[in-house]
Amino acid sequence: MDKRDIHLSKLITSTEIDSISGRKFGQDFAETEGVLKLLENGFIIKIIIDDTKVKAINDSFWKGFLSKVFERLKSKSEVNKLLEFDCNSSFKKQIDKNFEILDSIYNES
């Protein structure tokens, strides 16, 4: 399967900003990057977080960014097959927690 990279550092538009937040912001970014379309077309998405530029991301952003993906794929095990993360261990821990939260919302079984 082909891979596509999405760089979250794209969202850092000024040197004064080093954090990312907001559910709507996350939703809009997922739409701009065409996350669902890429998954439908069989791509694996690699999300890259450059920790020299991005220092903090809130859960609200992750919910906005990932909720449509979870709505479609339902469980975190399915999402894990199609999304990869290139980031430091702190962000990985945060993403794991958010996967847990989203799985509980969308995975009814």
């Binding site: 937040s21 220092k55 609200s60 939260i101 509980s104």
Partner: protein, 172 residues
């Protein structure tokens, strides 16, 4: 000796008296049953509230306290502080998920939205005073949602009592 001075039918008086006795007895029995039933429902509700308090309210309150203790100590909010505060709220959201496993009707979205709104605000403002101020609002909203859920949905004493009575009526 004739005691029936007014020539009243003695048999009728005795029958009336019996009916009054029977009605009084019936009323007393029904009252006792109602009292026992009300005491039973009150006790049941008390036990359920106690369970809700220990498994839900106390845990959420203690998690919120931990967050407040951290925020209170901060004089500046930078990206490191934002990361840590968000991590605290992630743990709180994981706690909400555990609570929903026991109380499936709980509106977990509303609770999570309170925490998302809070972190959105402090990520936007990056200001220690706002972080403290908004935290109180968030804490009140979360606890208010939990109390409302407990009293009006999960542990509604009156509604539960009435529903139970009506559900039993069909057996008579």
């Amino acid at each position: 000796m004739n005691l029936n001075y007014c020539n009243l039918p003695i048999q009728v008086i005795t029958n009336d008296s019996n009916w009054v006795d029977i009605l009084t007895l019936l009323f007393t029995i029904i009252s006792i049953i109602v009292i026992i039933y009300v005491v039973f429902l009150a006790k049941q509700t008390e036990i359920q509230y106690d369970k809700f308090k220990k498994l839900c309210l106390d845990l959420v309150d203690s998690e919120l306290n931990n967050i407040y203790l951290y925020i209170k100590e901060q004089h500046n909010i930078g990206s490191r502080e934002l990361y840590i505060i968000n991590e605290y709220f992630s743990d709180l959201n994981i706690l909400f998920i555990s609570i929903r496993k026991i109380y499936p009707k709980i509106d977990i979205d509303a609770l999570q939205n309170c925490s998302f709104e809070y972190t959105d605000q402090i990520f936007e403002r990056k200001d220690a005073d706002s972080a403290k101020l908004y935290f109180h609002q968030t804490r009140i909203s979360i606890l208010n949602d939990l109390y409302n859920y407990a009293y009006f949905k999960e542990l509604n004493f009156l509604q539960r009592g009435v529903l139970k009575v009506f559900s039993n009526v069909k057996y008579f």
